[in-house]
C-alpha cells in the first residue's frame, strides 16, 4: 500500500498536467502538494525499515514474475527520502514560489508532465526489487530528462541534450549488458528460476556464482551506471547537461538522479563482493574515484561558467563517494552520509544559481559582479551554501568528509588520503576565488533583481541550510540507524 502513496502522486500530477491544456497555475500547486504525499510515504518507509520491517509489494500474476516486485530496505529508504525531499522542494519552488515565469504556457505544461514522470521513474528505480525493473526505470529517467533540458531550443541546449541522451543511453545499454551477464551466470548455475533477478535471490545465490563472469559483469555495470552517476572518465555529459538545464531540473539531476545511480552501483558492488571478496570492486572504485577527483580539481580551476563549475564540483563529490564506497564499512558509512549531505547542498545551489542566471542573464562568472548588492537574499545564501559545499564546518559535508578521511587512515591509506586532501584543497581555493569575484565589486549594469530575490521566495531554501547545519552539528538517531543498516547491506 505504502508504495502506492509513494509512486502514484507524481504519476497523477503528470496526468493532470497532460489533461489541462493550456497549462494553468493550479497544476503546479497540485503537483507540489502531491509531492508532499510522496515525501510522507518515503518517511513512513524509512520509519518502517528503522523498526526492522522491510515493506514489500507485488502482483500475483502467473509467469510474469511480479511477486514482490517492489521492496524497500534501509538503503532504498535512505535514497527515497532524498529523492522525494528534493522533488518536493523542486516542485514548490517551480510552481508558486519563485516560479519560472520566463517560460510560456506550452513549455510549462511540458515541464510539469515530464518532471513528474522523471521523479516517478527515479522512485521506481529505487523501490524495485528486480534488477531488470530497476534498469528499465533508470533508462526511463534518461528519456524523460532529455525532454526537459532543451525547454528552450537553443544551439547549446540541443547540443547538451544530444550528448547527454547518446552518452547516457550507451552507458545504460552497457549496464544492461552487465545485468544480462549476471543473469547468464545465475542461469548457468541454478537454472531458470522465477525472480532470479531479485536482489534478495541474487544476494542469496551470489556465493555460488562464477568469479570470472561476475568480474566481467561488474565492469560493464560500473561503466554503465557510472556514466549515469558521472564518474570520470564518463562524466563529460555532466557540465553540458547541468549548464543547459532549467535550474529545477539541474537540481534534481545533480542530487536525486545522482543518488539513484550511486544506489545502483552500491547494490551491484554488494553482489560482486559476495562473489569475489571486496578487493576487486574496491580497486576499480578507488581508481575511478581518484580520476574523478583529479579531473574535477583541474576543471574547477579553469571554470568560467558557474553552472559548469557546479557540475565539476559534482564530479568531485562523485569521486569522494566512490572512494568512500571502496574503504570498507567505515568508508561506506561516510559515503552514504556524504550522499545525503550532497543531495541537500547541491540541490540548494542549483536553485540559487537559477535566480542568479535569471537576474544577470549570463552563466559566465566574469559577468557576475556585486551579487550581494543586487540580490542580497540569493547572494547571501549562495555564499553560505558554497562554503558548505566545499566542506567547511559547521555544515554536514564537513562531517562526512572528515568521516571519509578517518576511514582512509583506519585502513592505512595515508598516501591516498594525502592526495585526496591536496585535490580537495585545490577545489576549495578556486571556489573561494570564483566566489569572491561574484559576490563583490560594482554590480553589472542593467541587472534587475526581480521578484525572485524576495525573502518569501527563497524561504524554502532556509530549510536546506537548516538541515545542513543540523547534520554538521549532530547525527540524528533515526538517520544514524538508517545509515548503519544500509552499510550492513552494502559492505560486510
Amino acid at each position: 500500500m505504502i508504495f502506492f502513496l509513494l509512486l502514484l502522486p507524481p504519476l497523477i500530477a503528470s496526468l493532470l498536467a497532460l489533461l489541462v491544456r493550456p497549462n494553468r497555475e493550479f497544476v503546479g500547486w497540485v503537483s507540489a502538494l502531491l509531492s508532499l504525499i510522496s515525501f510522507g510515504a518515503a518517511i513512513t518507509i524509512a520509519a518502517q525499515t528503522i523498526a526492522g520491517d522491510v515493506p514489500i509489494w507485488g502482483l500475483a500474476i502467473n509467469s510474469l514474475g511480479l511477486e514482490g516486485v517492489l521492496r524497500a530496505d534501509s538503503l532504498s529508504a535512505l535514497v527515497l527520502v532524498c529523492i522525494t525531499g528534493v522533488a518536493a522542494l523542486t516542485l514548490f519552488l517551480s510552481s508558486g514560489v519563485g516560479r519560472v515565469t520566463h517560460y510560456d504556457a506550452k513549455q510549462l505544461r511540458r515541464y510539469q508532465i515530464f518532471i513528474n514522470l522523471f521523479i516517478a521513474a527515479m522512485l521506481l528505480a529505487v523501490s524495485a526489487n528486480n534488477v531488470g525493473v530497476m534498469w528499465i526505470a533508470i533508462e526511463a529517467t534518461t528519456i524523460f530528462s532529455a525532454f526537459l533540458i532543451p525547454l528552450t531550443l537553443r544551439k547549446t541546449s540541443i547540443e547538451a541534450s544530444w550528448k547527454y541522451l547518446l552518452l547516457s543511453s550507451v552507458g545504460i545499454g552497457l549496464a544492461f549488458a552487465g545485468t544480462v551477464l549476471a543473469y547468464f551466470d545465475f542461469v548457468s548455475r541454478s537454472g531458470r528460476v522465477e525472480n532470479a533477478l531479485n536482489w534478495t535471490t541474487l544476494m542469496a545465490t551470489a556465493p555460488s556464482l562464477h568469479p570470472e563472469v561476475v568480474r566481467l559483469a561488474f565492469v560493464f555495470l560500473l561503466i554503465g551506471f557510472g556514466t549515469k552517476a558521472g564518474i570520470a572518465p564518463m562524466h563529460t555529459w555532466k557540465p553540458d547537461a547541468y549548464g543547459e538545464s532549467p535550474a529545477p531540473l539541474g537540481a534534481l539531476m545533480s542530487s536525486a538522479l545522482f543518488a539513484v545511480a550511486i544506489y545502483a552501483i552500491a547494490r551491484w558492488k554488494a553482489v560482486t563482493d559476495a562473489v569475489l571478496g571486496s578487493g576487486y570492486s574496491n580497486n576499480l572504485l578507488l581508481a575511478l574515484g581518484m580520476l574523478s577527483l583529479i579531473i574535477a580539481a583541474f576543471s574547477v580551476v579553469r571554470a568560467r561558467n558557474y553552472k559548469r563549475m557546479l557540475a565539476y564540483s559534482s564530479v568531485e563529490h562523485t569521486g569522494l563517494i566512490c572512494l568512500g564506497l571502496a574503504l570498507g564499512p567505515l568508508g561506506a558509512f561516510a559515503a552514504l552520509l556524504h550522499l545525503v549531505n550532497h543531495t541537500v547542498a547541491k540541490s540548494l545551489m542549483f536553485f540559487l544559481v537559477g535566480n542568479i542566471e535569471r537576474a544577470y542573464r549570463s552563466p559566465l562568472i566574469e559577468r557576475v559582479h556585486g551579487l550581494l548588492k543586487v540580490l542580497p537574499q540569493t547572494g547571501g545564501l549562495f555564499a553560505v551554501s558554497l562554503l558548505a559545499l566545499i566542506g567547511l564546518p559547521p555544515f554536514g559535508l564537513f562531517v562526512s568528509e572528515f568521516a571519509l578521511f578517518r576511514a582512509g587512515f583506519a585502513l592505512n591509506q595515508p598516501v591516498l588520503m594525502g592526495i585526496t586532501l591536496v585535490l580537495m584543497s585545490i577545489v576549495f581555493v578556486s571556489f573561494i576565488v570564483h566566489l569572491n569575484k561574484m559576490l563583490y565589486g560594482t554590480p553589472t549594469e542593467g541587472v534587475i533583481a526581480g521578484k525572485a530575490d524576495r525573502l518569501w521566495n527563497v524561504a524554502p531554501l532556509y530549510i536546506s541550510i537548516g538541515i545542513l547545519v543540523v547534520l554538521g552539528l549532530t547525527l540524528p538517531t533515526p538517520l544514524a540507524i538508517l545509515l548503519k543498516q544500509s552499510v550492513e547491506i552494502i559492505a560486510k
Binding site: G132, V133, I143, P150, L153, W162, F176, F184, L216
Partner: protein, 219 residues
C-alpha cells in the same frame, strides 16, 4: 545430433547478425544503414524462433513477435522517414576511415573472444558458441557511435548495440524474463523516438545533421 544442429544454427545466425553490423562500417548512404539494421533484426527474430523451438520455450515466440514488430516494422519505417527528410546526407567523411574502421572492428571481435572466454567455459548451453559474436556486435555498435559524424548513423549504431545485447541475452540465457524484455522494448522505442525528434531539432538549428558542429560548449 539435434544439439549439434542447434549449436551450428545459432553460431551461423550470430555470425550473420554480426556481419550486418559490419555493413555500417563500409557503407556510406543512410539508406544502406536502415536496410542493414532491418535485415539484422529479421535475422535476430529468426534466431529467437530457432532458440524457442530447440530450447522448448514458448515465451520466446512471443518475444520474437514483439521484436519483429518493433525492430523490423516500426523502427525502420521511422528511419526511412528521416532519410527522406535529409536526402543529401551521407556519411562521407567519418572520423576514422573505412579501412581502419574494418581493421579496428576485427580487433574488437578478437577482444570480445578474449573477454568472453570465461563465459563460454562456464556455460553448457549449445548456444554458447555465439556469445563472443554478441559481445563483438556490442563493441562494433559502440565503435560506430564514437567514430561516425551523422546523428542518424549514431542512432543506428545505438540500435545495433541494442541488438547485440538482445543477442547476448538470448544466447546466454534463452531470454531474460518476459516482463523485463517488454520493458526493454518500450525503453528502446521511447529512446529512439526522443532521439529522432532531436535529429530534427539538430537539423533545424544547425542546418545539417553533422554532430561535429556540436562544439559550442566549453568550460
Amino acid at each position: 545430433m539435434n544439439d549439434a544442429l542447434f549449436s551450428q544454427l545459432t553460431t551461423l545466425g550470430s555470425s550473420v547478425i554480426l556481419l550486418y553490423g559490419f555493413t555500417l562500417l563500409w557503407r556510406k548512404s543512410l539508406h544502406a544503414y536502415t536496410v542493414a539494421f532491418q535485415w539484422q533484426s529479421v535475422m535476430l527474430t529468426g534466431l529467437f524462433l530457432i532458440i524457442g523451438y530447440f530450447g522448448h520455450d514458448v515465451e520466446l515466440y512471443l518475444v520474437a513477435g514483439f521484436l519483429f514488430i518493433l525492430k523490423v516494422l516500426i523502427l525502420p519505417r521511422y528511419l526511412g522517414k528521416l532519410e527522406q527528410r535529409f536526402p543529401g546526407e551521407r556519411e562521407s567523411r567519418p572520423y576514422v576511415n573505412v579501412a581502419t574502421s574494418l581493421v579496428v572492428a576485427g580487433l574488437l571481435v578478437l577482444l570480445a573472444y578474449a573477454i568472453t572466454r570465461p563465459l563460454v567455459l562456464v556455460s553448457d548451453l549449445p548456444t554458447r558458441g555465439g556469445l563472443p559474436l554478441a559481445v563483438g556486435l556490442i563493441f562494433v555498435g559502440l565503435f560506430v557511435i564514437i567514430t561516425r559524424k551523422k546523428a542518424l548513423t549514431q542512432i543506428v549504431g545505438f540500435l545495433v548495440m541494442e541488438n547485440g545485447i538482445a543477442l547476448l541475452a538470448v544466447l546466454g540465457t534463452y531470454g531474460i524474463p518476459l516482463i523485463i524484455e517488454l520493458g526493454v522494448f518500450l525503453d528502446v522505442l521511447m529512446g529512439f523516438l526522443v532521439m529522432q525528434v532531436f535529429v530534427y531539432h539538430i537539423h533545424d538549428t544547425f542546418e545539417s545533421i553533422d554532430v561535429d558542429q556540436l562544439n559550442e560548449l566549453r568550460h
